[in-house]
Amino acid sequence: MIIRKLTILSAIVSLFTVSAATAGTLDTVKGQGFFNCGVSQGVPGFSNPDSDGNWSGIDVDVCRAVSAAIFGTPDNVKYVPLTAKERFTALQSGEIDVLSRNTTWTLSRDAQIGLEFAGVNFYDGQGFMVRSDSGITSAMELDGASVCTNLGTTTELNMADFFRANGMSYEPVVFEKADEVVNAYDEGRCDTYTTDKSGLAAQRTKLADPDAHVVLPETISKEPLGPVVREGDGDWADIVRWSLNAMIEAEEFGLDKGSASSTCATTGNPVVARLCGKEGGNGAALNLGDSWSYDIISQVGNYGDIYEANVGANTPVGLARAGSPNASYKNGGVLYAPPAR
């Protein structure tokens, strides 16, 4: 009897003395053989499941690149679909290790919510979509409109700023899930649907008659979208950051998915040789194998590959890259990666 009570007591005492010793995310991920990547519930071109449950999209390819860097294969990822409202809590609580869900990089998110942004994989801006037969040609004509949008996004704040700055009134209609926003807009609940322009292009493919809608020319905000990790694990953040940077730099130096193996065999360019993992010791610095960046490029592709395959002009989303901020800095865009050395 006494012994049993002592056991219980010691168990309780030990509960209080055990400190929460947290292992690094990389060790945990290597130990379990995969990592959890938070994605959307279905935004075509960014993160969207097909009928077999296979995920694809430019955001998904960031997760695949991280997987290739760590495991040498892009498929050791478990995708967790999240609403905009759930995403940060899921990351903070450790349910996911990387959040790659068209998330805008802002000061308050970076500094206040315990998040660390690892880079930008898509430069976007908020726009408005209206029915073609409404006759509206500019966002400045939207005074008094009902505006459908998503809960828990920068969009809500941007539209409040936009309408206030221009002295216009509006009626916000805010839904929790993207599909419900599209549905309500399609049913005529709102005069306009606002979100990031890439999102408008993607969601438009879900409307009953996509051709009966137009995206207005104004862009009312800056929306740099990128992968996010928990604050406080710099090593893990570095891996995600440089996986993305490697794809951008590979494109700049002409190393793409199709030709990676032949180029790497013959190259004399030291930058390319470093990306191929043949020199430089980048892998050791990141606690990864030397072939980490080669694995990304040969199995997932460079930035140009993933852009054209998912959101480029020849896809249903159809966002031309030339002339947009997502073009390489050499072609007038703002896409610029620090050197991987």
Partner: protein
Amino acid sequence: MQDKNLGLSSILFNRSVQGIFYQIVTLVLVILAVLYIVDNTASNMIARGLASGFHFLGVESGFDIGMTLIDYSPTSTYFDSFIVGLLNTLLVAGLGISIATIVGFTVGIARLSSNWLIAKLAESYIEILRNIPLLLQIFFWYFAVLRALPKPKQSLELADSFFLNNRGLFIPDPVFGEGGTLILYSFIAAILISIGIAIWSKQRQNKTGKTFPVFYSSIGLLISFIFLSMLATGFPVTFDYPELKGFNFKGGIKLIPELVALTFALSMYTASFIAEVVRAGIQAVSLGQTEAARSLGLNPNQILRLVIIPQALRVIVPPLTNQYLNLTKNSSLAAAIAYPDLVLVFAGTALMQTGQAIEIIGMVMGVYLFLSLMTSIIMNLFNRFMRVAER
């Protein structure tokens, strides 16, 4: 020596002393566990760089809300957005409880009707509505309502002052001018006099057995007082009519389709449960009561009002309270169809913008707990008032 031993062991083995000891130990352990959880949460939040505290309530919110019962703009604070969400939740819960009670009592009594068709209709209503998940019903009504209604420019209208379209129902807003307070006072006076008549008639009935038509005389008083005061002040009420301007109607009172769909779904769903509660309550009153009342010469209306319902209410009120609590808590499903309730506005937008999940979810849970406790206190008082006086 022996005596001393006996004294110590009698204290040690005293049942009540043991009981107090174990209670103190349990209490200490509970307090330690709570302290541990609080400390653990706080240190983890600091380790992950999360902001904490309630300072954010005084910060400018920067977002807009579709339906507000108080003045609100993006320059208002997060605390104001909390109040807006709270009032919207209270509005839909209040409307839902009122409608569900009326519909539920009607259907519950109809189910006991001797008319086969009415009884079966009531039964099918109950069985269909209470067996379909509420969220599906909310979606059904929302999209059914949206799809059926016309665009603003083709609005259904009544007398150029009531308009219905897929942006909502627009009705004229009464504006009281000079002398409006006199109308209010006469309204209050009519109510006070009616209460006086009710008390006087009760006393007279106790003494002489004579009854007085309290209900009809009160209605008559109300109408004549309001009419006379309006006549005296020269009809100072004007109406602010809704007008089609640009995209939509402006002016008047606007009921958004989200509110209509949510109120409708919540009250129809809860009414099916209330109907069963009412049926059970009425059936719990034995048939002998009806027969005894009839033999005393009461008419059917009096039997229902004076004999059956007071006894049935004893059975009805506790489960009815449960249904009211369920309806209030179910109103948080509003987020699915964009009705700006507490969960959507405060635990949704405000939480996302500030990232302070623990504080905000704590506040929202506190509100629902408070509302539920208030509802059950009121219903318990009502139940005590309704109980049968044992003589």
